[in-house]
């Protein structure tokens, strides 16, 4: 883990940034973060995936957010959310090809400010689960900083990092594509998904996360800190 990330994930950093937060982000920080010593089965997680117009949070924008809550190590499908977000700029052709989201689809959608106001209360007090989390944290953090005065600090489990640790432990050479969400789901005997969008990828990551926890401790008694990124 890099020093920068260590600092960003620290309590000290959280206390520092939350003072500058405004609006819904302030309310987010008012709810304390999950204690890293809690057994995972008592922690609530939110698996989240974003679709964006590119990979650079400074230039590119979020076009959709999918999320699902995990409680007591059960994925709760009733909590599923799938939000389209209206970008400030017109959608580029390449991102339309990737996500199949068109300008007309997002015309009626809320802009990112409103979308954040909707999801921040869901994120509060929970732990983020994402496959390759720097993307999600980068985009959400950038947007928070821009609209609500402070970055987003959130305890995070990165299923890709957990998979990487598993592979390192097994000491096997890594095959190309071994860390892709689909491949990892397959190795854990999870069903394939035909549809790809923010919500289905969030659900896919939630299933993988459960499998990774079950592999470490079927009873779910291990502490949260052992799976945080």
């Amino acid at each position: 883990m890099g020093l920068r990330q260590k600092i960003i994930d620290s309590d000290f950093y959280r206390q520092m940034v939350q003072r500058r937060a405004t609006g819904p982000l302030r309310a987010y920080y008012d709810i304390p973060a999950a204690d890293p010593d809690t057994p995972v089965r008592d922690v609530e997680f939110v698996a989240l995936d974003l679709e964006t117009t590119g990979l650079d949070p400074k230039q590119d924008e979020i076009v959709s957010i999918g999320l699902v809550i995990i409680r007591r190590l059960e994925v709760d499908f009733s909590s599923c959310q799938h939000l389209l977000v209206r970008p400030k700029k017109e959608l580029s052709e390449s991102s339309v090809i990737v996500h199949r989201i068109f300008d007309t689809d997002v015309e009626q959608a809320p802009d990112i400010e409103i979308a954040l106001a909707h999801i921040l209360p869901i994120l509060a007090g929970r732990v983020l689960v994402a496959h390759h989390a720097p993307i999600e944290l980068g985009f959400l953090g950038h947007a928070c900083k821009r609209y609500f005065g402070a970055p987003l600090q959130m305890p995070t489990v990165d299923t890709l990092v957990l998979a990487l640790r598993d592979l390192h432990r097994q000491g096997q050479p890594m095959k190309p594509g071994a860390l892709k969400l689909e491949t990892l789901r397959h190795t854990h005997n999870l069903p394939p998904y035909r549809i790809h969008n923010a919500l289905s990828d969030a659900i896919a990551a939630s299933g993988l996360f459960l499998a990774q926890i079950a592999k470490r401790d079927p009873k779910g008694e291990l502490e949260l800190r052992r799976v945080l990124r």
């Binding site: 190590l73 994925v75 709760d76 005997n189 999870l190 069903p191 079927p218």
Partner: protein, 622 residues
């Protein structure tokens, strides 16, 4: 509904009994679910543990064992566990252990009962699973009660076939009998004051209470009728009617509406609803005079088979029922032949061999049969008669749909239409001087069963065969050698060894590599121990009493036989549905992971018992 959850509802739609729910209900269902993940080996439930969800297996598989550790079921994708807990106030009844890493969907108890309350078919499926005692894993796995489901959806009023036939309470037995005869009904309602039901009278009453008691026909019907009969309402389900009849041991039920009788339903009405019922088909064949007409009935066998399998029949049941039909066609053809060529000049008996002999026919059958004639047979005098008879029947069977035996093992062939003394010589030679070519014949001619004619002709011959074969070690060793030539398609690491190349590339031959080896093993144990039955299940059941096979071995082999046979039948049924010609070649990918595991288990059982066979009887000659 969002597209992503459609993935889950689509999955549910593919599985019974969720497929019985209306689309809008099933599409709303994913939102009610949660998902859990279990590692292989995790014990998910144990008896009396709290279980507040119906568990639906999304991927992976489980094993159910009762509190004593007895295996009850193995479940795979799309199947449910925790069912009994739903009917026991959220207390699990059995031990559930994961056999594989599994993703499981959980439906809350309350939602389960909401669905069960609203959709009787859905409820019925689970009540059967949860309420009935689970006998074996396989039975649960195959459990389907579509027939009952059909009966559940038909109302009694739909079953009333004709207008009510009734007679006034003042009538005599004679008058009642005459009315029944002229109206061609098997029961009569006795009414008073117009349409008030006073009693019911059936043809059984005429037999038991009139003829058997030598009662005068002039007595009033009231003396023999059953007063105040049990009745049923027009809006009740056909299923309830069947239950009422079974419970009260009656075959007729008056249908009452607002205190008045509107009709009678009989067990026949209920059976007629299953228009393809085998009994009905047999009845039709017995009335037919032309093979071409019989062919139309026999052509329905695939459909019959597919209904049977769907209704949860075992392959043993299915084989028995399907064979009953070829027996019926054979007997009918023999009757017709005797009408055509006159009565037989000397007694004869018509025997079925092979799968018909063993009562193990499937959708695919050719004919194996022979004629055994009384020793009074004289070829000069009687040869033509029996030649004509055999040609008539074999050609008839071919027209009906049982194609000629490729090995010509038919009564049509001169060699297989012989008097008892010749047959004795044949069997003597096969048993005392076994040779590879003769062994092929043994698989057909050691599985003989009487179909028609003078049974006693066969009985003496049969006694001789059983006694002779029993004591002959060399013969048995030859049979073993032959049986071991059928290899089970399992490799060293328990992977399937499939056919390579050709028309059946990458398939398993379920007949020659699955069914035949078991049939062979059962035959050897039967012959070695003087067991005279020919059905493979019966042979193995009988063999358990002898030391040549262990009780456990025989019982494992019975399970393996049932599983392989039913898998083969299901494969054939699937082909029939897709409009293909049924065959024995199965692609393992068409099975679920769980079925594949089970199939491998079944093959390794065969492998083990083939090895045991070799050590019990030795191997020689090949």
């Amino acid at each position: 509904m969002s597209l992503e959850l459609k993935e889950i509802s689509d999955f549910l739609k593919q599985h019974h009994p969720f497929d019985l729910l209306p689309d809008d209900v099933i599409e709303a269902l994913p939102k009610r679910l949660t998902a859990r993940y279990f590692r292989k080996g995790t014990k998910v439930l144990s008896p009396e543990q709290q279980c507040l969800h119906l568990h639906i297996i999304r991927t992976g598989g489980t094993e159910t064992r009762d509190p004593d550790g007895q295996l009850l079921a193995r479940l795979g994708e799309g199947e449910c566990f925790g069912v009994r807990a739903m009917f026991r106030n959220g207390k699990a009844a059995n031990n559930i252990t994961m056999l594989e890493d599994s993703l499981v969907y959980l439906l809350p108890e309350k939602d389960f009962h909401d669905l069960a309350g609203k959709y009787p078919q859905f409820n019925y499926f689970f009540e059967q699973m949860g309420g009935a005692r689970l006998r074996s894993g396989m039975q649960l796995l195959e459990k389907r009660d579509d027939d009952q489901l059909k009966l559940m959806s038909i109302r009694v009023s739909d079953l009333i076939a004709r207008d009510l036939v009734s007679i006034d309470i003042g009538a005599s037995i004679l008058e009642a009998g005459k009315l029944m005869s002229s109206e061609r009904v098997s029961c009569l309602l006795i009414t008073q004051n117009g349409d008030e039901v006073a009693g019911i009278m059936t043809d059984r009453d005429l037999r038991n209470r009139v003829v058997a008691e030598a009662r005068s026909f002039d007595e009033p019907v009231t003396n023999i009728m059953t007063p105040n009969p049990i009745s049923i309402g027009p809006d009740d389900y056909a299923f309830d009617a069947l239950l009422t009849m079974t419970r009260n041991n009656v075959r007729h039920l008056p249908v009452m509406k607002d205190g008045k009788a509107i009709g009678v339903i009989t067990t026949n009405n209920l059976l007629a609803r299953q228009s393809l019922s085998a009994v009905h088909m047999v009845g039709r064949i017995r009335k037919m005079t032309r093979p071409a007409d019989m062919a139309k009935v026999i052509a329905q066998i695939p459909e019959l088979l597919s209904n049977l399998i769907e209704a949860g029949a075992t392959s043993r049941n299915a084989g028995h029922i399907v064979t009953t039909l070829s027996d019926a066609a054979t007997s009918r053809l023999l009757q017709l032949a005797e009408e055509k060529f006159g009565p037989p000049p000397v007694p004869y008996v018509w025997m079925a061999g092979g799968s018909q002999g063993r009562q193990e026919q499937t959708a695919l059958s050719d004919q194996d049969n022979c004629l055994i004639l009384d020793d009074a047979y004289d070829p000069e005098q009687h040869g033509d008669y029996f030649k004509s008879l055999a040609d008539f029947v074999c050609d008839g069977l071919d027209t009906v749909g049982y194609i000629y035996c490729p090995g010509e093992m038919m009564a049509k062939t001169d060699e297989w239409r012989q008097p008892v003394r010749v047959w004795q010589q044949y069997f003597n030679k096969w048993i005392e001087q076994p040779e590879p070519k003769a062994l092929m014949l043994c698989s057909v001619w050691f599985d003989l069963r009487v179909i028609h004619g003078t049974r006693s002709i066969f009985e003496d011959l049969h006694r001789m065969i059983v006694t002779k074969a029993k004591g002959n070690r060399i013969f048995l060793a030859y049979m073993v050698g032959n049986a071991l030539t059928h290899h089970v398609p399992l490799g060293f690491f328990k992977n399937f060894v499939m056919i390579r190349g050709g028309e059946h590339d990458r398939t398993l031959d379920m007949k020659h590599n699955g069914v035949v080896p078991i049939v062979d093993i059962a035959r050897i144990h039967a012959l070695a121990n003087g067991i005279d039955v020919v059905n493979t299940y019966e042979r193995l059941e009988a063999a358990m009493a002898f030391p040549s096979i262990s009780k456990q071995g025989a019982s494992d082999l019975l399970d393996a036989f049932e599983f392989i046979s039913i898998t083969r039948l299901k494969h054939q049924v699937r082909q029939i549905r897709d409009g293909d010609r049924p065959d024995n070649f199965l692609h393992p990918e068409s099975l679920s992971a769980f079925e594949r595991t089970h199939l491998k288990d079944a093959f390794s059982v065969i492998k083990n018992l083939q090895a045991a066979l070799e050590s019990a009887f030795g191997k020689s000659g090949t």
